[in-house]
């Protein structure tokens, strides 16, 4: 299985600097970590790989086909965990989980299975606002995994989480990988605790212009 980007250029607005400049990479089956400073373009790359942003130029292909912006890719092949989770606050956990997989026809049993797996068994009717940050993060991961995606894109999945919750999330990713060894999991993170999951780590800082890299290094050391 292969997710590939070729000569990607991306800028958010006209006449603004490029966030990604002629970026090319190939992601095979396995877990890939994207590391780098804030604002270096990790999340933007994930959104481009998900088809959530149209590239200014270049292309993203899945299995050799330029299908990332297609409905089928989003509905069945790919799942995305947003940094801000984007759970529906007034909907129950069950509805939140079913919503993401509505096109894959996940059942209530599937929801119960995943809630059990993330330690929230029997809490189908609870609302996200009634959960802690760590629990919400786990629900968001479960929402991404319930449809059994071939491509899993996770944007900062453990930011702000304690070790226990981080370990729970790592375990979910491991199990997902074990179930589908062909799947591709790309994680954008600052968190070094995830390093042991990775089959490969991409240092995103090297794509930054030299001035920005120096600026980031000065900030880090000071």
């Amino acid at each position: 299985m292969k997710l590939e980007c070729k000569s990607l250029n991306f800028r958010y607005e006209k006449n603004t600097p490029l966030v990604l400049d002629s970026f090319s990479a190939t992601y095979d089956s396995g877990v890939h970590l994207l590391k780098g400073y804030s604002g270096c373009g990790k999340s933007t790359l994930l959104k481009l790989l998900a088809g959530y942003l149209p590239p200014s130029s270049g292309e993203v292909t899945f299995e050799g086909e330029c299908a990332v912006a297609s409905q089928a890719y989003r509905a069945s092949l790919m799942s995305f965990l947003f940094q801000q989770l984007n759970l529906l606050p007034l909907a129950s956990l069950k509805d939140n989980l079913l919503l993401s997989s509505s096109l894959n026809r996940a059942s209530t049993q599937d929801v119960e299975y995943w809630l059990d797996k993330i330690g929230l068994a029997g809490q189908l009717n609870k609302r996200p606002s009634e959960l802690s940050g760590g629990q919400q993060q786990r629900v968001a991961i479960a929402r991404a995994l319930i449809k059994k995606p071939r491509v899993l894109l996770l944007d900062e999945p453990t930011s702000g989480l304690d070790d226990l919750n981080t370990e729970a999330i790592k375990q979910l990713i491991r199990e997902y990988r074990e179930e589908d060894k062909e799947s591709i999991c790309i994680i954008s993170t600052h968190d070094s605790r995830l390093s042991d999951l990775a089959d490969s780590i991409y240092d995103f800082n090297r794509y930054l212009p030299i001035e920005e890299r120096l600026e980031q290094m000065v900030k880090r050391t000071s």
């Binding site: 942003l53 890719y73 947003f82 801000q84 509505s102």
Partner: protein, 352 residues
Amino acid sequence: MTLLLALLGILIQGILSSLELKIQEKIENAGVRTILISNHVKPFEVPSTEAEKYLIKDLLKDKGKVIEFKRLGVSATWRENKRIPIYAYDRDEIAFFDLELPFSETGAYYFTKNHDYDEPITLAIIDRERRAVSVDGMKCEIPSGLRSFVNADNFLLLPKQYSTRFEATGYYSFQAVEVDRLEDLGEVIGKLETLFKFDRRNVQMVDQRQLFDELEKLYSIQSQWRIGVALLISAVLTLLIGSTALLEFRQNQYVIALLKSFGVSSYIIAISFIVENLVLVSLGLFLAAAIMVSASQDAMRALSNTFGTSTLEWTFSFEDLNVLMMASYIGVALALLPVFNSLKKPVGRVLQ
């Protein structure tokens, strides 16, 4: 806000309907097809009214009939010495008019308002020399047909044979021309005007054209108000729906982006928003129309009581509903603009 405007609209419509009723009553009382020609005959003057009557009859041909009433210069008294005006008529002429007069042997009547039962009475007529002449007659309510000819609430109606002796003191003559068909009214008035102009006669002619004009004017004001209020309500509705849609814009944008991120097609999202808005607005309009009919009828009843008019009618206007429907659907179209805008926006620009 919309309700307040609707109530204001109903109130104005009520006032206008009340005015309309009053004019209609006036027209009914005055006689729609009647023209009154009045002349003053001075004491001892040889009247030209007989000749005039024949001229008018000739001019009318088969288009109508004419009757002469004379308002005498003397008056009658009955109880408490109340002075009652006296009108004289020709028994042969009145037979051609369907006035539903009750039976009176002498042909004399004392007409008064709100008199429940007919009763024979004797009145005294005082002539110029202060001599009293008694007349037997029937006291009864004024028949509606007679109201077209005589504009008075209490009067004595005497046959010509009794009145002749009082005419020497002068009188007002009223030639009441009743045109058979309303369509001929204009033509007859035109001919009469030409006749009197040709004769250089100073006569007064009263017809109901002015009242019809007044009624037309009122209808036009009524329709302008109706359209105005409907447009105002429509503008408020459009603004309300439009601004609610704008307030919901961010919420919709978020939900739409989330649905798109899960792979739901933009077409399905668009159709669901269109159907939802259309169904809700149509349902709202249907309920509003149903409530409006009954509320308006209640309001009209209340207004009827307030203005003291017997029947104020409110007819449901599909034109008003059409304007409201148009405004609501324009509101729906406005409300859909942010939805279409959100559908075009890439998911990655909305969700972080």
